[in-house]
């Protein structure tokens, strides 16, 4: 199972999560987003990039409660709400945003 990015194949697991996080790039993110039916806007990228930074620092994908708390701290309560995140990623911010960000499925995820 793999994504096809600019002629290169990049493997993913049965749910679409990357098997090697190091192979992620923005073109790949756009392809995953398209498969998920998500139209990437600057607001989407903001969340995706935040998730990647979080992963770099802590080596895990944050649980949704932790994500909203951290986003509130960084970008204000408007963007740190469940509602806002579900508007951007209707099938679950953990499931979709993490997948687009190239992260593994979060522990205890929604």
């Amino acid at each position: 199972m793999s994504y096809d990015v600019n002629g290169k194949t990049i493997d993913h697991d049965e749910e679409g999560y990357l098997t090697d996080l190091a192979l992620w790039n923005e073109d790949l993110a756009a392809i995953i987003a398209e498969k998920e039916g998500v139209n990437m806007t600057p607001e989407h990228w903001e969340v995706v990039n935040f998730l990647r930074e979080y992963y770099q620092e802590y080596q895990i994908a944050p649980a949704i409660r932790v994500l909203t708390k951290a986003l509130t701290k960084r970008m204000g309560a408007d963007k740190g709400s469940n509602k806002y995140l579900y508007e951007l990623f209707p099938y679950g911010p953990a499931k979709q945003a993490c997948k687009i960000a190239g992260l593994p499925k979060p522990t205890g995820c929604v």
Binding site: A63, A70, G108
Partner: protein, 125 residues
């Protein structure tokens, strides 16, 4: 979960060194899952478990393994703030609280015994 969720006192007692076996990583995963259920979580480090928190670990660079020590720093964001390390275990290994990646309360063996005794659930690995 029941609608009237009762909060229990959980302890995760880490007693294994970080990279030679899988125990330390598995316990950490359990802690992250437990954090989702709003329980009163206590994370303790005794015996070789104190090595899990040693600063300067480089499992990725040296062994191409996951540097999960950095994940302990995320526990604060998961509202897990009750971390304890056993004084005797640190001393036997020539370590102090300053050698650890996260702030912990250092307690002696007698205090650890009392803390264990006060828990509803203790998972030791």
């Amino acid at each position: 979960m029941s609608e009237e969720a009762t909060v229990k006192k959980f302890m995760y007692l880490n007693r294994k060194a970080p990279h030679g076996t899988i125990y330390a990583l598995e316990v950490l995963e359990m802690i992250l899952v437990a954090a989702m259920f709003d329980q009163d979580v206590h994370v303790c480090f005794a015996d070789d478990g104190v090595y899990e928190l040693k600063k300067g670990q480089d499992a990725k660079g040296a062994l191409e393994m996951k540097d999960f020590v950095t994940t302990y720093r995320a526990l604060d964001g998961y509202d897990i703030e009750k971390l304890y390390a056993e004084k005797e275990s640190l001393e036997e290994r020539g370590l102090t609280a300053a050698d650890l990646v996260v702030p912990v309360e250092v307690i002696d063996r007698a205090a650890m015994a009392a803390l264990i005794d006060s828990m509803d659930v203790v998972l030791s690995a």
